[in-house]
């Protein structure tokens, strides 16, 4: 039982972490609460479905094509919808909700409400402590820390990363240092959406593709980000695993727990916020000082 809980919480946690890193990055840098973040993940999953099951591409090629197309879609959406509204945070929030709904309804229109499946990126399985674990599951577990490490190296060791970190602290001053803050926000949006598409390729083969699949991950991703502290990528990562673990505990230890997993995990988030309103690693932005 204990290994079941560990494996399950690692998979849940890694899924939320992969999504939360992108969500947190774009909020931290551009103050955009992109409710459509997991809708991009859903659109990417359909794109992979299209590439593999209809066009017959292999899963890796489908993943690459999907990441490129989703990033393009993300950049177009940023340019025509998010950027003109950016100074009004509530408007961005509502606009991205509308965007997510329109993505969902477009997929319903083209693919119907039928559950679809995606091929595994890696097939086969192995036994760990008496539990059969698919390689695809191990891939998810490995990818979250790898992606976090890659994002960390990108932020700490590259010019663009430094520009992103500076902008995330004070947009106005970054402008006065000659940095094109809008360009940096756009770049961050591209990275964030690419991560959502990558998550789709890695995670969704273990579940099903359907037009409503973005909703539960969105709630959990936002909860992870709030729990970890808005704007802190590290906090979101840890928050994701805490929620993943809480979900797995509820599913395995409480009778009918599968129906309660969301509400218990979110209650934990509320409880932590009562004790630490800024979340575990909350960040104060310069303009809020």
């Amino acid at each position: 039982m204990i290994f079941n809980i560990i494996i399950s919480s690692l998979i849940n946690g890694s899924t939320y972490a992969l999504l939360a890193i992108g969500f947190s990055l774009v909020f931290g840098v551009a103050r955009i609460v992109n409710i459509a973040h997991t809708a991009f993940f859903m659109v990417a999953s359909y794109c992979i479905f299209l590439c593999t099951n209809i066009l017959g591409l292999n899963p890796f090629a489908a993943m690459m094509v999907t990441i490129i197309l989703t990033v393009l879609l993300g950049l177009i959406i940023f340019k025509i919808i998010i950027d003109p509204l950016r100074e009004h945070e509530a408007a961005v929030l509502i606009a991205t909700v509308a965007l997510a709904m329109s993505f969902q309804e477009t997929m319903l229109l083209f693919f119907g409400g039928v559950f679809q499946s995606l091929p595994y990126l890696v097939t086969g399985n192995m036994e760990i402590a008496g539990i059969r674990v698919a390689y695809q599951q191990l891939l998810i577990i490995a990818m979250a820390p790898l992606v976090l490490a890659a994002v960390w190296i990108f932020l700490k060791k590259t010019r663009m990363g430094l520009a992103i970190r500076a902008t995330s602290q004070d947009r106005e001053v970054a402008n006065l240092m000659g940095m094109n803050e809008k360009g940096i926000a756009m770049m961050t949006m591209a990275v964030s959406v690419a991560l959502a598409a990558f998550t789709g390729a890695v995670v969704v083969p273990l579940s099903v593709v359907h037009p409503h699949m973005w909703l539960h991950p969105l709630v959990m991703t936002m909860a992870a980000v709030v729990l970890g502290g808005m704007g802190s990528v590290k906090g979101s990562f840890i928050g994701a695993y805490i929620l993943g673990f809480a979900e797995a505990l509820v599913v395995f230890l409480i009778p009918m727990g599968a129906f309660l997993k969301g509400s218990v995990a979110l209650s934990i988030m509320v409880f932590v916020l009562l004790l630490r309103p800024d979340g575990l690693f909350g960040v104060t932005f310069e303009e809020e000082r």
């Binding site: 430094l162 602290q169 240092m177 000659g178 940095m179």
Partner: protein, 255 residues
């Protein structure tokens, strides 16, 4: 005869019913230091925010090197060659001091093609040395004292390799010794630095300051503002006997 680097014509900015800056016009040469003084609320900070592009004028025209700059984005103005320091210092507090300066070195104006992080780091170190805080390069900006933060502001401003620097109260909150040091740095910078475009001649400067004694030693001309309007524009030595200036600081009937 040096050319006009900056030209303001009838610049006006209001906030609601309040005219923060009204009908301001002046020209400055590429080797000028202009002091901008006036009582609190006179419109000094608003004026330099208008020049730097943080605010946009309601009417009037601001030209930099014969190019109209009102309406341009802040980063475009910086990349044309104007930099700005804040009255209340706003470093990137969670970044090391050197990274604060590296961000300015990465502005399109200052960065050369193919420069990698190491090269940018070395350039940033040069600017920190100039400002006198290179020994603290790796510490977080949040650990700096008031005086060192002012130095960091100057290092960041010159790292964009400007031709015009707008300094908003560079001596504000500094001790007499720190003020003296900062004044020396500013004079040295104006004479001509060792960096990039600053190599041959230093940048022109507009300095907003309340410490008049120090400012009068440095400025070629002083512009006095009150209630958003120009009271007078004169040489520093003419200032002490100017009745209008004394009135705007001490009130009517003070003489």
């Amino acid at each position: 005869m040096p050319s006009h680097i900056l030209e303001l014509s009838s610049v006006t900015k209001s906030f609601g019913g309040l005219k923060a800056v009204y009908d301001i016009s002046f020209k400055m040469n590429s080797d000028d230091i202009i002091g901008l003084i006036g009582p609190n609320g006179a419109g000094k900070s608003t004026l330099i925010k208008l020049i730097s592009g943080i605010l946009e004028p309601d009417s009037g025209e601001i030209k930099f090197k014969n190019q109209k700059i009102n309406g341009l984005k802040t980063w475009d103005i910086v990349n044309l060659g104007i930099s700005f320091t804040f009255q209340n210092m706003r470093p990137f507090r969670r970044l090391p001091i050197i990274a604060n300066v590296m961000t300015s070195c990465m502005s399109p104006r200052a960065m050369k093609r193919g420069e990698w992080v190491k090269r940018i780091e070395a350039k940033a170190m040069d600017f920190l040395e100039f400002a006198g805080i290179s020994d603290m390069a790796l510490e977080k900006a949040s650990t700096l004292s008031q005086g060192d933060l002012k130095r960091l502001e100057v290092a960041r401003a010159i790292a964009t390799e400007p031709e015009l620097i707008l300094l908003d109260e560079p001596f504000g909150g500094l001790s007499p010794a720190e003020t003296e040091l900062m004044a020396k740095s500013i004079k040295r910078l104006h004479k001509g630095g060792r960096f990039g475009r600053l190599h041959s001649e230093g940048p022109a400067m507009i300095i907003v300051e309340h410490k008049l004694q120090q400012l009068m030693k440095m400025a070629d001309r002083i512009i006095v503002l009150n209630y958003g309007e120009t009271v007078t524009e004169c040489a520093p030595k003419e200032l002490v006997n100017n009745k209008e200036v004394i009135e705007c600081y001490l009130g009517k009937g003070a003489l």
